[in-house]
Subunit: 453 residues, 2 copies
């Protein structure tokens, strides 16, 4: 039997799975920071097209994927599910490890799954331009790619430090026709204000969000796009878990453990939510979210109402958070450096439907290099965190002498992140544990905000 | 109907197709440069394991692919065949354009197809270490990847100029466990000699080949691996064309035109040879090889006996060549900068079974960016040449009002070559036509060598 399980092209999912239909306790509503009242569709209308706002709030279990989106997803979907026989042999484990390979997308990660959907709905609503922020550059690349496919201008505010360090990310965006602007920039009110006060600032995701939002609200033909955290983003990503479930069924398998890395939660949600539904339905399956120990949102942050950005421009969301002022150290997995996490993921952890663990980047890259040398694909720094947890689970299965089935999301390749491998291979990375005092200090940012239910 | 045509995993080819069984005129034999006699297996034995030497010389039509190789190829094969509906719409052409997407391999190109096979046969023959050269780095990466899968040490001599300009290529090789050495190096006799004479030399592929060969012949546990030109390399690459043929059949299509870019000839041979077989059998199909106008081997070089390397260490091969001293300008498609081309491809051109055209890099990158913005995948600089020819053919079909079917090999993605897009997008590339005088001068290197039949 082949180690590779391909879902036939005509079996690409025709609907996304919306877990809001099945949550044992409903999500706490996002609050307007001015009124502290639940946010309504009209509050979001200056930023997003109505179709996405409806998806954000919908409790309909299956939401059909428009044919125009499926046609674009077909460039790389369904993605392969592959049995990691090389890694299994290297670990000497009886576990069966399957990885869902999202690295085959044009941007090299899972991000285009939602970028394509968001670009489609915006174009359909008559929007001409999307603004967004990007840290490491994965999301800005994915949105530039999707914008090109639907004829949208894309303006990406990229944290200045990353912009300077990673010029090729900018060129990727430009090749797709996107415009990449180092943030803070002189093109927005908030950017000018910051530059005046601190001309040499390296920028931050919080500043970049503020700039992108400011540009979007100013112009009725411009909308804003977010690459993670929100319900509709996780919804779009469920194609991963839905496909993986079907692929495992093709070989008569079902996972004992499902593993994904967590930053804002879109990759983890995408692979996990269809299996969380099974677990809610009584099925026995463990679901493990893996975060970096340097940004331990799920494992050490409280469940609380907090802002999504440093600039306090977003609604308050009930989520695990380290406080909107938290500045994670500059680890290489830039996609996991976020102070909060998706409200859906936070709700599931509270309900004990999922588990969370933290791994440090040395353990992560060790697993990443082992994977590259046994399975052949070089994982993105973010992905290495999920692989480290996979190695732990496979060794636990060996210890227990059990042929457990492990499903892991291989969220992206690392071919544009080789600087991080260089640091690791030359012993320039050290394990990092966030000191308790720093977390306590960061959490002060939550003082005065409403308590989460 | 889906625009994406996936071959089921269990239909990955079980044999390679060997065109030596079907050539109307046999290949002119390679000659030993000392004796000017045809080279025999024993002459190649210090460099290659016997299984590969047998494949190099075999005239057996179908050569079975060992299961151990198929298991590794299954990490990314069969690769998708995709209808480029976005590009078709942008060109307003009635042509149906299908691209075979080889960019989904772990190294991002078609090179691993032969790297895996070569690593397997070497490991099976008890070889412990492979040496090779690399220019832009694609081949060195692919061999490092394959070496990791079969437990071989890989030593890559990388042209110093590229080594300095592309540090991340080196890190890719190191991540897979390979060793990447700037050439010329102090670790070989020939390297020391060159460094003594010209300490500041930027290096060349010719020098790097000499170093890799020297290291391979010195040690019985070390062998040499080549990423293109040779018969067995083209053989391994035929999985591309074989799969594409089956995929087209799945939608009831057959190509009017097959297109691939040509450097040494492995990518073009891989997509084209199964269709050349059909053409020999009487089928109506045009087959177009696309080379850069800055290195016009097929379109302006004579068919002659010549060395494969600048250092004159290889056998003499009958091929289209610009002379072994020819130094192509430093265009961005590093994989196409080779003075010669595979003897098989040269034979086919002589027999008028294929056509050859040259395109300059501005036309190539223009097509590449158009492809990225309509189909979403950023092509490798090499691949953009095939895409430029595809655009020409699609516009010719529009002109003729004919719904021609075009098959093009999408040989790799450009995510690790963004510097070339940066130059193009900022108007730093100019069309380049090699002056006739320079070609005449380079061809003097052929003086005194035997005439090709």
């Amino acid at each position: 039997m082949s180690r590779r399980i391909d879902l036939p092209a005509d079996r690409m999912p025709k609907s996304w799975y919306n877990i809001l239909a099945d949550l044992p306790t409903p999500l706490a509503p996002p609050l307007h920071p001015g009124t502290m009242q639940p946010v309504g569709p009209e509050d979001l209308a200056p930023l997003f097209p109505m179709a996405l706002i409806e998806q954000e709030m919908s409790t309909q279990r299956e939401i059909p994927i428009p044919e125009e989106i499926r046609e674009k997803l077909a460039i790389w979907r369904p993605t392969p599910l592959i049995r990691a026989t090389g890694l299994e042999r290297a670990l000497g484990t009886p576990a069966r490890i399957y990885y869902k390979n999202e690295s085959v997308s044009p941007a090299g990660s899972h991000k285009p799954n939602t970028a394509v959907a968001q670009a489609y709905y915006n174009a359909k609503a008559g929007i001409k331009r999307l603004t967004t922020e990007t840290g490491a550059g994965q999301w800005g690349s994915a949105l530039s790619f999707a914008g090109a496919l639907f004829g949208l201008d894309v303006e990406v505010y990229m944290v200045r430090a990353s912009y300077d360090q990673k010029p090729y990310r900018r060129v990727m965006m430009e090749t797709w026709g996107g415009r990449c602007i180092p943030s803070p920039s002189p093109f927005t009110e908030v950017g000018r204000r910051i530059l005046e006060a601190t001309p040499d600032t390296p920028g931050s995701l919080g500043m970049a969000i503020s700039e992108a939002v400011e540009k979007a609200v100013q112009d009725s033909e411009t909308a804003y796009a977010l690459g993670s955290v929100l319900n509709h983003v996780l919804l779009h990503q469920t194609v991963m878990g839905l496909e993986a479930g079907e692929q495992l069924e093709m070989v008569g398998a079902y996972p004992d453990v499902v593993i994904g890395c967590v930053g804002g939660g879109s990759n983890f949600g995408g692979i996990a939510l269809p299996f969380v539904r099974d677990r809610i339905g009584g099925k026995r399956v463990r679901i493990v979210a893996v975060e970096p120990s340097s940004c331990p949102t799920l494992t050490r942050g409280p469940y609380a109402y907090d802002f999504g950005d440093t600039g306090k421009m977003t609604p308050l969301m009930a989520m695990h958070t380290l406080g909107h002022d938290f500045v994670p150290p500059p680890i290489h997995a830039g996609g996991l450096r976020y102070h909060g996490v998706a409200p859906i993921i936070s709700n599931l952890l509270k309900e004990q439907l999922i588990e969370a663990i933290a791994v440090d980047q040395v353990e992560a890259f060790t697993a990443g290099v082992q994977f590259a040398r046994t399975e052949g694909i070089i994982p993105a720094p973010e992905t290495t965190h999920a692989l480290a947890a996979t190695v732990r689970e496979a060794l636990a299965a060996k210890e227990a002498g059990e042929a457990r089935t492990i499903l892991v999301s291989f969220s992206g390749h690392g071919l544009v992140d080789m600087a991080s491998y260089e640091a690791f291979l030359h012993n320039k990375l050290v394990p990092y544990e966030m000191p308790e005092s720093e977390i306590v200090r960061a959490l002060k940012a939550l003082d005065g905000l409403p308590k989460a239910p």
